[in-house]
């Protein structure tokens, strides 16, 4: 076991993937000498060379478009988008080209590309550095969308994403980059990357979250315990596909579901999960599925982002409302 931060765990996962497969190349802005603005690629260019850890011109569409060409040539590009809000120049290439390529080629050419996006708020950043655009990608067939919440998943899920023959949008919770945990770096992946995980068992209510909100939900569950409520926490891990079986299985036991994410609730992951769980668990539900998330407002200036972002109190408020039905 090795104690690693999330950033170091992803770094170690990238290193292992590059050691195992010479076709894995990293592409992105400032990922070479600097090691990325969050240092996730720290030291990799030094060890694997400039041909495999490629500092790109400052053009996101260019990064993804050229990565598509590299993948067509047989490489497995791992692209870093520097911040969530900068993915949009590449949105066209991701949704019109990368996502559709395999289907358009009648299955003859896969697109084994990983698009890493540090996402979410809570770090006091300027505009366009704190967003959570996962729903926009989940809406697009052809992509897989996954989200890691802790160092162990960061280490293993990045390797699973790279091994996947499908394009994977890989969200990294930037405010959790410095969270530390023990990681078994030598074993094998503890679970597939397209399955959710119950990270805290409980009997009265299910909290479902991904990425940065998993820790928030675990803290909320611990606080609720002191009030005599037993809360189960599901780390969704995968957003497309969504592991509805695990969530519905949990709700079948608890009868209540609150979905938590930083992204705006309107047309968000919570809405999709609420619809699915309502279909599956209609007769087991003790309360409507509730959502906690961002508001239908531009991501606010950082001095008020704490109000915008779900926190322990907002989660517990929703828990209270769920129990009030």
């Amino acid at each position: 076991m090795t104690q690693l931060t999330l950033a170091k765990a992803i770094n170690a996962g990238l290193r292992r993937a590059m050691e195992q497969d010479p076709k894995v190349v990293l592409m992105g802005e400032d990922i070479g000498k600097l090691g990325g603005v969050f240092r996730v690629t720290d030291g990799l260019q030094k060890d694997f060379g400039e041909d495999r850890v490629i500092d790109t011109p400052l053009a996101e569409s260019g990064i993804i478009g050229t990565a598509l060409g590299m993948a067509l040539r047989g490489f497995r590009p791992v692209c870093e988008i520097q911040f969530d809000g900068f993915v949009f120049p590449a949105f066209d290439q991701i949704t019109t080209q990368v996502a559709k390529f395999r289907a358009r080629s009648l299955g003859t050419v896969s697109m084994p590309m990983v698009i890493r996006i540090p996402s979410g708020g809570g770090i006091g950043a300027v505009e366009h550095h704190s967003e959570s655009p996962e729903a926009l990608f989940a809406h697009t067939a052809g992509l897989r969308v996954i989200s890691c919440s802790n160092p162990e998943d960061g280490y293993w899920m990045i390797q699973q994403a790279i091994r996947s023959d499908d394009p994977v949008v890989f969200f990294e919770p930037k405010r959790r980059y410095w969270d530390k945990a023990e990681v078994d770096v030598d074993g094998s992946a503890p679970r597939p990357f397209d399955r959710a995980a119950i990270v805290r068992p409980g009997t009265d209510l299910t909290l479902a979250a991904h990425g940065p909100m998993v820790r928030t939900c675990l803290e909320a569950a611990a606080a609720a315990e002191s009030e005599g409520r037993s809360i189960e926490v599901v780390d969704l891990r995968t957003i497309s596909p969504l592991d509805v079986d695990t969530v519905a299985g949990s709700v079948d036991r608890t009868g209540r579901l609150v979905v938590v994410h930083e992204a705006p609730v309107f047309f968000g992951l919570g809405a999709e999960l609420a619809a699915k769980v309502t279909e599956r668990c209609f007769y087991r539900l003790e309360a409507p599925v509730l959502r906690v998330g961002g508001f239908h407002a531009p991501y606010p200036p950082s001095r008020v982002e704490e109000i915008y972002l779900p926190d322990l109190d907002r989660v517990l408020d929703a828990v209270d409302r769920a129990f009030a039905y």
Binding site: G62, T66, D92, Q93, G107, R144
Partner: protein, 392 residues
Amino acid sequence: MTGRRAVEKSTTPNPASGSTKRAPQGRGTRRTTGLKEEPEFIQLLTPTGERIDHPDYPLEVSAEEVRSLYRDMVLVRRVDAEGTALQRQGELGLWASLLGQEAAQIGSGRAMRPDDFAFPTYREHGVAWCKGVPPVNLLGMFRGVNNGGWDPNENNFNLYTIVIGSQTLHAVGYAMGVQRDGGDSAVVAYFGDGASSQGDVLEAFVFGASYNAPVVFFCQNNQWAISEPTSRQFRVPLYKRAEGFGFPGVRVDGNDVLACLAVTRAALEHARSGQGPMLIEAFTYRMGAHTTSDDPTRYRSSDEVESWKAKDPIARLKAYLDREGLADETFYKEVDDEADELAAQIRAGCLALPDPEPLSMFEHSYAAEHAQVAEERAFLADYLAGFAEEEH
């Protein structure tokens, strides 16, 4: 149909791979926005079929090779006419005609080696022909039976790309892959005058230059982006942009198949010898509509179209063949007969394209099982099965 063929290497000294490392330069200097103005460009065959030399782009071609260039142009024009006819008869939803651009496509397409990779728009039926893609494959997306429909690696010819300019980045990325593999293949990125305004094309120029990638940017300037003239896209001749990005740009008479062949060969040699990208602006004309849905009489004059008819790429090469006595009536008749036969094959092939099975929409989107897809496929299968039971 013959499809893929390697063009023999020219024995003439190649300016692009010269020891001086001086990049070949075009001679075009004048503004090209005026209709009456003849731009300067590299030309090896005048509109009346007179062979002329260019100091930077010498070309030696055998009579057989010239005849085969003629044949290819006639055949792809016939393929194209059949595409238009099939659309008019309701067998295709849409067709994008290459009429007038045969020389640019056959000249550049024949300059490629089989291992060179082409990234087309949706109009490169002539390049597809040179790369050996069966013409019926091109019809799938226009008929609505698929959204692409072939294996890009089979003939080193990428899928048609409809989003304007996207493929230029793919081409550069592929060329970056070639660099890493250590091969000496090169890549040709096709795009049009309209696409030159797209950010992706300009990013492709930046990436191509930055990594010195073995890519040729081949722009068919056919003067019109649907209804918008080139003056809406650029205020200096397009090929001159290359200099600002740090690689050579040349303008070639896009209706002169010999010039297009010579210039593209030189650019490909430039790329494979490690000297990086080149931009070729093939100055040509879209004789037909943008697509079968377009009505060009609303935005351009018949005088303009007539003036370009006099520069027709096929008539020009035939004038040369006749002038030099390189072909006789038997040859022309054989080519025409072959074209008719090919058209009949394409028509039959088009009509035989099966409609996709409804559930096939779920196929191939993912390499591995995706739970959402599995759920929805099962739902639709059950739903459709319900109708089948009702029919009994």
